[in-house]
């Protein structure tokens, strides 16, 4: 597989380390100091799902790849798990910053 790095151009996937589903970027909020038992249970459920449960889609899949043998950037690759065809590659940083900005504007 060839990953078209947004900064470095086409690179062999063997240069990268695969982490998994891009939803791993969306870590849930930890419970507050004064959380009730109910809130604690909820937080633990959210963490359980975040850490262990995967949609594991057949088809288009957004996933995290780390360019360890290159510029050490994290990429979000949109790849079809049935054909291995890659349709989009983005810098994870750009997405994280954009998400943060969205979160800030909501507050």
């Amino acid at each position: 597989m060839i990953i078209n790095h947004p900064l470095l151009g086409p690179r062999d996937a063997a240069e990268f380390v695969y982490l998994g589903d891009a939803s791993l970027m969306n870590r849930p909020e930890w419970k507050g100091e004064e959380a009730s038992d109910e809130q604690t249970e909820k937080t633990l459920d959210a963490y359980h799902d975040y850490l262990y449960i995967r949609e594991n889609k057949a088809g288009e899949h957004k996933e995290l790849w780390y360019h360890e043998q290159g510029d050490r950037s994290w990429l979000i690759v949109t790849r079809n798990t049935i054909t291995h065809g890659i349709s989009k590659v983005e810098l994870a940083r750009d997405i994280a910053v954009a998400n943060q900005a969205k979160g800030e504007s909501k507050k």
Binding site: A13, G20, L51, E55, K57
Partner: protein
């Protein structure tokens, strides 16, 4: 029809006209006591033991393709009982004991060959880890023997002992481990189940579940709706796809594992050998081909084929311990979809939906588990209580902190 030496002679003398199909091809009934989704090794073993051990034979196995076309017919056929953790090793030892009696039980030649497995070690630390593992195996009633370099030389004199980077210092020998003719396992179990009245229905894909008020009462299939009291899903690499139809997400990622076979050679390799410094394992099939494999490709995949970096890595591993195979030609390679779980261990459990059961998460080690998986799943279906050797294989174990992580690498499926 029972198979026997006498029968073979009789058929030989009468022009082989008396052989019958190994199983029937019935049309599905409207309703069964138990429907098993997936006609792989585990599904067929479950049906066999349900009918033969638990007296439940109003059972259908629904297979979307043909039986034996999934991982049960794609793996490198290694069976072993050399796990470490107390939730795993008694289960795999039980499986080994069932393998030892399989051919008598199913009256089918599955070519169970206990030719021994040797895990090589290359450093003192690795030796110590193998001593610990060997003790764990002995405690569960399995067999284990630590060999020093001379011991390994006696068995496999042609290995590259003086390799500059990874000299071979010795190995952990598990004599009862070995190989089994993989698709004969599927056929033998199919025959065993069919002979007791189980319907094996091929080209019948499950496309949905009938679930109402938290109770599952049947499945939708490409051959129409079929009702059942209990529905047992057992679809290995397709686990997430099938369970999504019941609205469930699982602690599983599907990834591709490749395997390779060379041209046929004269007998060179008496047992199974694994490299301890890279990932490579090899045995020789009865046809003479070297059958080998290594790491997962390492990313989510539902394509039953992998990529070239793994081909290179696996072949390098092979050359590192067996330089003699350098000129052997590779004949074929293929891939299968692994249901990689978050701790590398499987699930045999009920779901929160009444009547719906799940068996999966076998990673790349489910072939050896086939008999015990079938027996434990049949036990669960028949009694609604977990089998004593499958108590740890629960779906909620991550929430309770009950992970069974042999490698200790955490929730990273491509590292298990």
């Amino acid at each position: 029809m029972r198979y026997s030496a006498l029968r073979v002679i009789k058929e030989a003398l009468t022009g082989h006209k008396g052989w019958e199909p190994v199983w029937r091809s019935p049309e599905p009934k409207k309703h069964y006591d138990v429907i098993i989704v997936g006609g792989g090794g585990h599904g067929l073993a479950t049906a066999h033991y349900l009918a033969n051990q638990y007296g439940i034979n109003n059972v259908a196995v629904l297979e979307k393709g043909w039986i034996g076309g999934g991982n049960v017919g794609r793996n490198t056929t290694i069976i072993r009982s050399n796990y470490l953790l107390p939730e795993n090793e008694p289960f795999y030892e039980y499986s080994m004991k069932l393998w030892e009696g399989l051919e008598q039980d199913t009256n089918y030649n599955s070519m169970v060959s206990q030719r021994g497995i040797l895990n090589l070690y290359h450093s003192d630390g690795q030796r110590d880890a193998f001593v610990r593992r060997g003790n764990g195996m002995l405690m569960a009633g399995s067999d284990a023997e630590i060999l020093d370099q001379d011991g390994v030389r006696e068995l496999y004199p042609f290995l590259d002992f003086e390799n500059a980077r990874f000299p071979i210092k010795g190995g952990l020998l598990h004599k009862r481990g070995g190989t089994v003719r993989h698709d004969a396992v599927a056929w033998g179990y199919a025959r065993g189940a069919d002979s007791k009245g189980v319907d094996i229905i091929q080209n019948c894909e499950v496309t949905g579940f009938d679930i109402k008020d938290g109770v599952c009462t049947g499945v939708k299939t490409t051959k129409g709706d079929i009702g059942a009291n209990k529905i047992a899903v057992c679809v290995a690499g397709s686990s997430s796809r099938v369970m999504a139809q019941a609205g469930m997400n699982l602690p599983i990622e599907s990834q591709v594992l490749q395997a390779f076979v060379t041209e046929g050679l004269k007998p060179v390799l008496p047992g199974v050998v694994t490299f301890g410094a890279g990932h490579f394992y090899v045995s020789q099939s009865d046809k003479g081909g070297l059958v080998f494999g290594g790491d997962l490709d390492g990313y989510n995949s539902y394509a039953q084929r992998g990529n070239l970096p793994v081909v290179e890595d696996v072949c390098e591993g092979g050359i590192a311990i067996m330089p003699a195979i350098g000129r052997v030609k590779l004949l074929r390679s293929w891939g299968g979809i692994m249901d990689m779980s978050m701790d590398g261990s499987p699930f045999i459990d009920r779901t929160h939906i009444k009547g719906l059961y799940f068996n999966g998460g076998w990673c790349y080690g489910g072939f050896k588990a086939t008999p015990a998986s079938g027996m434990c799943y049949a036990h669960l279906l028949a009694t609604d209580t977990p089998h004593e050797f499958a108590k740890g294989f629960k779906l909620d174990r991550f929430r309770r902190g009950g992970m069974i992580d042999e490698k200790g690498v955490g929730a990273q499926p491509n590292l298990h």
